[in-house]
């Protein structure tokens, strides 16, 4: 069994992820859990789980990232999610470009340089609109599971216009559209459009360079991918495990000391 040489922990606002890598950077183990309020305890338990199931090389290091990175007591170093996502996606896809990461609390667009480091970035962190929370919240109001949204939006059909850029006001719009008899899938399309319009503006602000890549849980949403790709007239590339990109990048940074 290959020994763990680096561990990355991404303590996000909705999920907590861990990735362990061997000295060559190959992934040895992963873990993903819903985030609990006691981040220190949760991440310590995740780390214990990885250590008891795998050999750990002497001197193996741990890098913490994400919203709760300061609370990961076992970390040797803390690095922001911007740098970790850039490193992770660069390793996964092997190229520079532009990464859209839609997290639970914020979204970021990172222009990645040829060395896999962020060259520039923009963050939307002032408002839930433009984040994963926007879709979660509005899906909840429609009584839908967030995992089903992408498929419904990607299917052909009409689209309602959502004019509010605010999550709370968008909810009132949904209610009035439903009252007018609008179809749920058409409303969903409108909601996705409203989210992606913001993201596309951020992509343009950062002076994006292709290819366009996506990470974070929302990258699994085919509707968001299709709308962003369509607006920018480009293909959107997603790594195999987009939710683990940050933790993977953190694990690779742990190998660097």
């Amino acid at each position: 069994m290959t020994a763990i040489a680096g561990i990355g922990i991404d303590a996000g606002s909705t999920t907590c992820k861990a990735v362990a890598v061997d000295p060559s950077g190959a992934v040895v183990a992963t873990a993903l859990e819903q985030a609990l309020p006691r981040i220190a305890d949760q991440t310590a338990a995740m780390l214990d789980g990885l250590r008891s199931a795998h050999d750990v090389a002497p001197g193996a290091r741990c890098v913490a990232t994400g919203y709760g990175r300061r609370l990961v007591e076992c970390a040797d170093r803390r690095v922001t999610e911007i740098t970790c996502h850039a490193r992770g996606v660069f390793d996964d896809l092997g190229r520079a470009g532009t990464l859209v990461d839609i997290g639970g609390q914020d979204s970021k667009v990172i222009r990645i340089g040829p060395d896999g480091r962020p060259a520039d970035f923009v963050m939307n962190d002032k408002c839930a609109a433009g984040t994963g929370r926007f879709l979660e919240y509005t899906a909840g109001r429609l009584g839908l599971d967030v995992a089903d949204l992408g498929g419904r939006v990607a299917a052909p059909g009409s689209e309602e216009q959502i004019t509010s850029t605010c999550t709370v006001f968008a909810e009132s719009e949904i209610i009035s559209l439903l009252a007018r008899g609008a179809e749920v899938d058409a409303i969903l399309k409108g909601l996705h459009r409203s989210l992606t319009v913001r993201l596309v503006a951020m992509v343009r602000t950062v002076g994006w360079e292709p290819p366009l890549m996506m990470s974070g849980g929302v990258a699994r949403n085919a509707g968001v991918r299709a709308m962003i790709g369509e607006a920018l007239d480009t293909e959107v590339i997603v790594p195999e495990h987009p939710q683990l990109t940050g933790a993977h990048g953190a694990a690779l940074l742990a190998l660097e000391g």
Binding site: T80, E81, T83, D106, R117, P118, A119, D120, F121, D125
Partner: protein, 358 residues
């Protein structure tokens, strides 16, 4: 290493009163200190203060007015400026001009509310205008104080304030030879906001000499580094402020003047201050000056740290970003409110910016 004891704001006020001076509460940020001193006033600057709630002040302004103006108005209404005989509101921006009008025409506090209209456009008439404006202010102060300064009073005030200004300039010049972190450095720089000139000179002399801590060099721009824990976060991220363009810092490095008339001398010095968005400096000239300062200090990028809704600052940000980007200097921009500690997201932005420069 830390700096030895400096008088606190309230100690400085008490000492000024014991010297027989009256207190002038002064809003940010260009004003003629020596003129106040010559007329028997000790200036104490009001940058908010950050801990005062917006509520009372907020009733008098639009919701998008900056924290400095709104919190300062709250502070005034709560009696926080009771010990001041004068409230001087320079026309730094439209928000402060508004505050001057609201305070003077509407709130009518116990303090005399004085305004100072600063020229903004870099026109040939600026000097003549500012000299007239300073004479008008001098007349008002003389009316309040019950007399005009003597020649000796003017000479004392100019000498003391110019020595303190030179001390401030020397602190910046010698930054690399000061064995203090950014937080300590800016605590000393900012003590000029309330200390008497001589006390400030003493405080600066107490800064230990040696070698400045190392770190990724940043130029810090913006209005005021509040909360001061900003510097702790920067240090934790591995960065160090090697130069600044702060309203509460290097924007007030006034050059000397050889004019014999005290008021003309003050006008020359105010007009000679570094490029500044509140004074209408053309953006290309400001960017060139900042790029030069970054090159000289070894800064790798610029962090613009603004008070939310600060109009003059915000106008310049997109073009400044473009000009400095073209010159090879990345720029990050964050906006903060002055109500408490820095939020997680602002800290993440700052840390991520430092990581991109590493």
């Amino acid at each position: 290493m830390t700096v030895t004891h400096r008088p606190s704001r309230s100690e400085a006020i008490a000492r000024a009163e014991a010297r027989g001076q009256r207190i002038a509460a002064v809003l940010p940020y260009h004003y003629p200190r020596a003129l106040l001193r010559a007329h028997g006033f000790h200036p104490v600057e009001v940058w908010g203060p950050p801990g005062v709630p917006r509520d009372e002040g907020g009733r008098h302004f639009q919701a998008y007015t900056c924290d400095i103006v709104v919190r300062a108005t709250s502070f005034l209404l709560r009696g926080g400026l009771e010990r001041a005989g004068v409230l001087l509101v320079p026309h730094t921006c439209d928000a402060l001009q508004g505050m001057g009008s609201v305070a003077g025409d509407f709130l009518q506090p116990s303090q005399h509310v004085l305004t100072l209209y600063l020229p903004r456009a870099g026109r040939p008439t600026d000097r003549e205008y500012l000299v007239a404006e300073l004479r008008r202010l001098s007349d008002r102060l003389a009316g309040i104080a019950g007399g005009r300064p003597t020649d000796a009073g003017w000479a004392d005030a100019l000498a003391a304030e110019e020595a303190a200004d030179e001390t401030l300039a020397a602190l910046y010049r010698d930054r690399e030879a000061l064995a203090v972190g950014d937080r300590e450095f800016y605590e000393v720089v900012r003590s000029r906001e309330y200390l008497a000139a001589e006390e400030f000179v003493e405080a600066a002399a107490a800064v230990p000499r040696g070698t400045a801590p190392s770190g990724i060099g940043l130029l810090l721009s913006g209005i005021v580094p509040e909360p001061m824990s900003l510097f702790d976060h920067l240090a934790e991220a591995g960065a160090r402020v090697v130069a600044d363009d702060l309203a509460a810092g290097a924007r007030r490095l006034y050059p000397p003047s050889d004019a014999a008339d005290p008021i003309e001398r003050l006008a020359d010095r105010l007009l000679g201050s570094p490029p500044d968005p509140t004074r209408g400096t053309p953006i290309a000239a400001r960017a060139a000056a900042l790029a030069g300062r970054m090159a000289a200090a070894g800064a790798k990028g610029m962090l613009i740290y603004d008070v939310a809704f600060c109009e003059p600052e915000l106008f310049d940000v997109p073009l400044l970003r473009r000009h400095l980007g073209d010159a090879g200097y990345p720029v990050a921009h964050v906006e903060v409110e002055l109500g408490g500690e820095l939020g997680h997201r602002v800290i993440t932005r700052i840390e991520a910016f430092v990581e991109t420069l590493a």
